[in-house]
Structure formats: structure tokens, C-alpha cells
Symmetry: C2
Subunit: 105 residues, 2 copies
């Protein structure tokens, strides 16, 4: 599977969803190494585009994301992580990063 | 808000979530024009990276995504669309694109 995902792609977006509430918590990017570390350790690892380094989410805040399920989409270029978050997922202290509402129909 | 999202960014990922079930259905990319058309028409528009053109999801299949809410994340570089899907969201006929399960803890 890893070769299908990272075939010619350096980074793929990974959506993080709370397994209990189904709330979408955040989106970050994975490279091959962060994907492997996520499978190996059971917590979410990403690649920070701004800092250009591997990042174990929670390594400084303690707010780790514990993996329950992982899936990719139909064309293997997006990852969905279903997790149990320890504490708020957002660095602002919000449970989810998606708190900037634009419109409501 | 549109200037915060597309400030120096051509495309941003847009996560599509079913408003009723909270299932994550798909991820596609928006440029400024597809974002504007989404707000204007109430159905999801994207920019296809492979075809390099605007794309009103459902325009050929009839499986439109009707927008209920839109939010961005804390740093304005990801969009979350909460929708009512008409029919399957995935071109394979699956309700969600995320059917390739990788692991279960």
C-alpha cells in the first residue's frame, strides 16, 4: 500500500477524524517516513511543510493522536486517520482546527 | 475570508463530509474561482489537478454535493465542506472514497 500512496508523490494530505464523535479535527501532510512511523508507533506522525521536518503530533503539547483505523481514498492520494485524540487537536486549544465558519445555508 | 485562504496559494484541499452521518466522503482541491462558485451556487466546485479545469462535482454523474456549512481551519489553508450528497460521492459508485482500509488497531 505504501508504494501506491507515495508513488511519485512526496507528500499526501492526511485527514484526522475523531473515531468516537466523527468530528474532523485537522489536516496535515505525510511523507513515506511519517506514514511508516504512524503504523509502527500507533500515534500520528506528519511532515511539517513549514519546518521541513518529521513531527510526532503531541511531541511538545502532549496531545497525541492515537490511531484506530487508517484508510486511503480510491486513488491512493489522500489518507484518512480515525483517532482517539488526547486533548485538543488544534494548537489554539480548540478541539478541532475547523472553527472558522464561512457560511451556513 | 477568500483572501486569507488564497493568499499566495493556488489550490487548497477541501474535505467533504456528510452533514447527516458525519462520514468523510472525499477530498478535492479548490482554487479561488471554484470556491467562489461553491458559495454562489450552493453545490461543490473544485479544480481538477489532472484535467486542469474547473469541475462542478456531479456535472456528469448527477451526484452533486449540496453545501450546508463551510469552515476553514486555524491557519486558513484547508477547507471543510459539510454537505448533503446526492448519490454516491465516489466515481467508483461507493458512498465514500475512503474504502481502502490499511489497518485496524
Amino acid at each position: 500500500m505504501i508504494d501506491k500512496i507515495f508513488n511519485g508523490r512526496e507528500l499526501v494530505p492526511a485527514i484526522v477524524q475523531d473515531s468516537d464523535t466523527n468530528e474532523v479535527l485537522m489536516l496535515a501532510y505525510m511523507n513515506r517516513e511519517s506514514y511508516s512511523l504512524t503504523l509502527k508507533t500507533g500515534t500520528a506522525w506528519f511532515f511539517s511543510r513549514s519546518r521541513q521536518k518529521l513531527w510526532n503530533k503531541g511531541e511538545t503539547s502532549g496531545n497525541f493522536l492515537y490511531i484506530n483505523d487508517i484508510a486511503t481514498d480510491c486513488d491512493y492520494d489522500t489518507i484518512l486517520l480515525r483517532v482517539t485524540p488526547k486533548g485538543p487537536a488544534c494548537h489554539t486549544g480548540s478541539r478541532s482546527c475547523f472553527f472558522n465558519k464561512i457560511t451556513k445555508a
